[in-house]
Symmetry: C2
Subunit: 216 residues, 2 copies
């Protein structure tokens, strides 16, 4: 499958390389066509990896991954262009971390809104699915790194889109019983507002390679 | 031990009855001395159970449990009186759920503040420990209801107070390895902001008898 990936940080790099490993063609997009990190990622991931602008990547992808920082996601997606997003599954893994007021970061949006919802509202014809934002990116694409079951959440308005995303998660190694569909995109407030607990747990344990498991 | 318990709701009832079962003397406090729910709780929990005003309960307790609704906790504690809280361990299990804007509730305070912090700031001589707010009250006092390990968080400025709270948690059935000390009281933002995810998980699964486990 052809996948457009927005963002050149560690999350984008990790997901992009995993998608390449799984046999997909991936174009990493950034604000400029010659972003150094995107060029380096593309040149070190073989013939199926390429890079370009946000618009190039979004046009290329049958499915889009938003791996930009949550505070910049709407801007990045506007540069990608609504016409390149319409009708496509848009997987949003971002978190609206605001480091401008010191560490640990606060959230730039929360409580009565979320980045997931803002993206869906700004691009109503895209099929936004919020997922994977609740963990370190190493675990996103290699959940079996942990010996016990753990949980990944999904939020989105389109049931078929969530089924497609579950197939991708499954290819990453996620088990069906580990995927929890929370409901429509407004439920993204839950996973996004979990981040402050994630951050404090990481700070207390000095180990980012953890995830939560819903135990019943 | 003599324990003052503020709040007459299902959380206060559940914790109060567990403390009685464990051999403590518990006074349940409410806004009025003759609150019907408090009178009923006291009359059905034997000679070690009593009730009175918030001030009566706080004066009585060597340790205080705040089981009031988070949006009313500061008011309740002001009625309890700083003089009855000073120097005591104040266990805050509240959540600032705001149902005034519809369901599911938003949080009345979050992101750059928390109820735990507000209480500590308003009553600087009390030793506030935030804990247990991340789950249904049935699990708070009976964690072994779940077959697998799961996690309870603690936040507070006073290390000795957290040790005392851990002893109480241990008497409830919590294992040492299940208790995660997040740090000072500002870390209460994490467990409080987890509530929206708790609520959506509950709504999606229709089962409130769950908790999260930090899996590494």
């Amino acid at each position: 499958m052809k996948i457009g990936l927005l963002g050149t940080g560690v999350v984008g790099n990790t997901i992009g390389s995993k998608l390449i490993e799984l046999g997909h063609k991936v174009k990493m997009g950034s604000r400029t066509a010659d972003n150094e990190k995107a060029v380096q990622w593309a040149s070190s991931n073989g013939d199926d990896a390429s890079n370009g602008t946000f618009a190039d990547a979004a046009e290329f992808g049958e499915i889009i991954f938003n791996c930009t920082a949550g505070v910049g996601s709407l801007d990045a997606l506007r540069l990608a262009g609504a016409g390149h997003l319409d009708g496509k599954v848009l997987i949003d893994v971002s978190n609206p971390l605001d480091t401008s007021k010191g560490m640990p970061p606060t959230l730039a949006v929360c409580n009565d809104d979320s980045v997931g919802e803002q993206i869906q509202k700004a691009f109503p014809a895209a099929k936004v699915v919020k997922t994977l934002n609740t963990m370190w990116c190493g675990l996103m694409v290699n959940p079996r790194m942990l010996q016990h079951d753990h949980t990944v959440f999904l939020s989105g308005n389109d049931a078929e889109a969530k089924t497609q995303v579950k197939e991708i998660l499954s290819s990453f190694g996620w088990k069906e019983n580990e995927m929890l569909d929370l409901g429509d995109i407004t439920t993204a407030r839950g996973p996004e507002m979990y981040l402050p607990l994630w951050l404090r747990t990481w700070m207390a344990t000095q180990n980012g390679a953890f995830n939560i498991h819903i135990v019943t």
